[in-house]
Amino acid sequence: MMISYNIPEEKVFLSGHNACPGCGEALALRYILNTLGPETVGVVPPSCIAIISGPQPYSSMRIPVYQTTLEASAASAAGIKRALDVQGKTQVNVVALAGDGGTYDIGFQALSAAAERNEDIIYICLDNEGYMNTGAQKSSATPWLAYTTSTPGGKPTGKKNVAEIMAAHEIPYVATATVGFPDDLTAKIRKAKEMKGMRFIVVLTPCLAGWGVPDSQAVRVSRLAVDTGIFPLYEVENGRKYTLNWEPRGIPVDTYLRTQSRYKHLTADQIEEIQQEVNRNMTYLREKQ
């Protein structure tokens, strides 16, 4: 049978935004915002998301959005949520929408602290594997050997596993998602929306300019990340209950790496090493289930 989608949407995210043509992050925002619905307050730190949210005084998000500092997304969101609760507006969801730089690196202290306090917020990291709106510098989400403007010879260290770090905080919900699987992505947003406490979702969003991918390929690249096992789709509840949501089709990592010019300098041996690493990671993940 054929794979097809049926995704309910409430139009919160608007057309006319400033994302690059074919942007994976804009597509993710469409699904996240249109699933969360109008009773939502957004918190956005400096990032491509801030650019996409609109040039002042225009907004592409039909909800109140607070633009905070790069360090403070989780703290700002927690403060807003507590204030709303005091006002009796307990039904309003507060969502932080931050990049990987603002999550894995610069905003990490505030994030870890909010998780430790189990703040009642949804924190979504749109992971494009680098500081992209400032010119594609590396972050701790950039994968091993990937070219960025600040790692011209390829990044010497690996990607931090932020989902596992957040799961180790034993918060109610941690999930990974990506734009190539919009049904899975929106199901996770819906699930998070119904839960209480700290919820963290990391969404892989291919960056066309930063990764060196043609305008029409964000979805294909996103799916290959999953089907090669490089970015498995899974959930962790209360730091314990692991569920793998999509069985990777076992496509060789080479197929994924070849879609992006940031990997074009890789040698056959390096690709093989990446393959071995991915195989090991998949084994660990399966053992946790």
């Binding site: 049978m1 054929m2 794979i3 097809s4 989608y5 049926n6 995704i7 139009k11 995210f13 608007l14 057309s15 006319g16 935004h17 400033n18 994302a19 043509p21 074919g22 942007c23 994976g24 804009a26 597509l27 469409r30 609109g54 002042q56 005084p57 225009y58 907004s59 592409s60 039909r62 959005v65 919009p182 043609p214 305008d215 029409s216 390929q217 964000a218 979805v219 294909r220 799916r223």
Partner: protein, 561 residues
């Protein structure tokens, strides 16, 4: 002195981005297009295959069947005997095996018979009368299309029954008489004058018809046997394949002896050989062509081999000598022979020192047939010895099927009948001075001339799913009689198989283009003519919708600014 007052921008949002015109960024624009699928492109009758496969998949069974019979009134027949070039060109072939279009056509054809569905009745009655000479697939298809458009049609048929080679040649084990009879019966319900046992013999006979009818369609097939000089002066029994097959179809048991050699490499040769096997003979087939060049449908050649035919490809008979009273020795030699589309009589090169002998009680000759052109005007007989189609159309005389073509397939004959019917209608309208044009076809014409390529299919959406094949009954069974060899698919199997179709170039409203647009520039709408619509104000021309359409129904067109 006046003080300049600086306006301080508000920190609050005062408007929304949907007033922006991001469409100015783009250099290409996606367009929705119904495009040709490769299966339809090669199908002789131009069947709307993706459309009826979707209907079948959604279990709109009668609708699916109606879509087929719009162009081909005999799906239960073609579902069994068509050489199905559609499957050889199917895009899914490159993925996990072609869609079993032919078996699905058979399924719907058989279901229609079982359910008693009828063909659509003519919506109007016209005065003009058309004569169709020959009641084979070409003549019947033409008669059907004319009748559908309301014309009065008389069919003249030499034999006591309609069907042509379908009735008197193609063996029972491939095409049961009962199946053909049902499809003929249903066709005749539309109302035709049928004159059986009526052969058009002389030129006067023919000219009489031309005077009486507004137009004449000649589809008399090809029945004149070619002979083989090497076998002329022998007492050995030499059968003409069509006589042999017709006798068996009538239920007779022609005496062919125990050892039979069939000469020829087309369907008639293979059918004669497999029929002879069923009469208990040991059968050898001798063909000039190499295996790869045989004109017969390959599955037939393979099935025959499995049943016990021994093939001698690239060989010919040079003479014959008697052994004893009832048996003969055929002198043979290996040859090189390359059939050619341009040269009707390509050279046969004999290979030295390759002589061999085959013992035979009788020979069945299946080396080709030509039309008998006696009753027809000499202007109509073309250089290759066939009736030339297109030569006398302006005088109301049309030709089709085996009598005017070397492309001898049932589906080609049906296609000829259909296409000539359009021309006949055009001719008759022209005569009346009305130029309503030809409303028969062309309605759903696809815009793009190139059929959708496999590279345009997004296979992510189609998990691997092997083809469901028709089952073949076991050998011991099949050789003991003339019962049909292949079993049709069950409804569950047919629906499963139809769901494998990519629906190349034909939108099935899967919504992918809608869901994957980061700019929400694709809208679903019911008020505009197409189901999907692209908002030019927002579309940035990224091409994601094109990439994620599983079937090439959206394409990017460069925009000059």
């Amino acid at each position: 002195m006046e003080v300049l007052k600086k306006e301080i921008p508000t920190i609050w949002t005062t408007g929304w981005t949907d007033i922006m015109n991001t469409g100015t960024w783009r250099s290409a624009m996606p367009i929705y297009q119904k495009r040709k699928s490769p299966c339809q492109d090669i199908c002789p009758v131009n069947g709307e295959i993706p459309t009826w496969l979707q209907n079948l998949k959604s279990e709109n069974l009668e609708e699916a069947w109606l879509e087929i019979v719009a162009k081909n009134p005999f799906p239960a027949v073609t579902g069994r005997v068509c050489h199905h070039p559609c499957e050889s060109k199917c895009n899914r072939k490159e993925y996990d095996g072609e869609v079993g279009i032919n078996s699905l056509e058979q399924f719907l054809g058989d279901l229609a018979i079982e359910k008693g569905w009828s063909l659509p009745k003519p919506s109007q009655e016209m005065e003009e009368r058309v004569a169709v000479i020959g009641g084979g697939p070409a003549g019947l298809s033409c008669a059907y299309q004319l009748r559908k458009a309301g014309y009065q049609v008389t069919i003249f048929e030499e034999q006591p029954e309609l069907g042509g080679l379908l009735r008197f040649a193609i063996p029972e084990y491939r095409l049961p008489k009962a199946v053909l009879a049902k499809e003929l019966e249903r066709l005749l319900e539309l109302g035709f004058n049928v004159e059986l046992n009526r052969k058009i013999i002389t030129k006067e006979d023919f000219e009489q018809l031309r005077r009486e009818y507004s137009a004449v369609f000649v589809a008399v097939g090809a029945y004149k046997a070619k002979s083989l000089p090497q076998l002329e002066n022998t007492a050995m029994k030499v059968w003409f394949c069509l006589d042999f097959l017709a006798q068996v179809k009538k239920g007779e048991k022609p005496d062919i002896g125990r050892k039979v050699v069939v000469i020829g490499g087309g369907n008639a040769a293979i059918d004669s050989a497999r029929t002879a096997l069923r009469l208990g003979a040991k059968v050898k087939v001798l063909s000039l062509e190499d295996r790869a060049d045989l004109p017969a449908i390959n599955t037939e050649v393979v099935d025959g081999e499995r049943e016990g035919i021994i093939y001698y490809h690239g060989a010919m008979v040079t003479g014959v000598e008697p052994i004893g009273t009832d048996s003969y020795m055929l002198k043979c030699v290996k040859v090189v022979f390359k059939p050619s589309d341009t040269d009707r009589f390509p050279k046969t090169v004999v290979l030295k020192d390759t002589e061999f002998e085959l013992q035979a009680d009788s020979v069945i000759l299946a080396i080709g047939q030509e039309p008998d052109t006696t009753p027809f005007p000499s202007e109509l007989v073309s250089a290759v010895g066939l009736l030339g189609s297109g030569l006398m159309e302006n005088q109301g005389l049309f030709v089709g099927g085996d009598s005017s073509s070397l492309n001898r397939y049932v589906s080609a004959a049906i296609a000829d009948g259909k296409n000539q019917a359009s021309k006949i209608i055009e001719y008759m309208k022209g005569n009346k001075g009305a130029s309503e044009g030809n409303q028969n076809e062309q309605v759903n014409q696809t815009v793009d001339s190139e059929p959708v390529k496999f590279s345009e299919v997004n296979t992510f959406y189609f998990p691997i799913m092997p083809k469901v094949n028709r089952e073949i009954r076991s050998e011991s069974n099949s050789l003991s009689g003339f019962a049909e060899i292949k079993a049709g698919l069950s409804q569950a199997e047919a629906i499963q198989e139809s769901s494998r179709c990519f629906s190349c170039g034909h939108c099935i409203s899967c919504n992918n283009c809608f869901y994957f647009c980061p700019d929400q520039a694709v809208v679903k709408n019911s008020d505009l003519c197409g189901e999907y619509h692209i908002l030019e104000q927002y579309c940035k021309g990224c091409g994601l919708c094109v990439e994620e359409c599983p079937r090439g129904a959206v394409t990017l067109k460069e925009e000059a600014r």
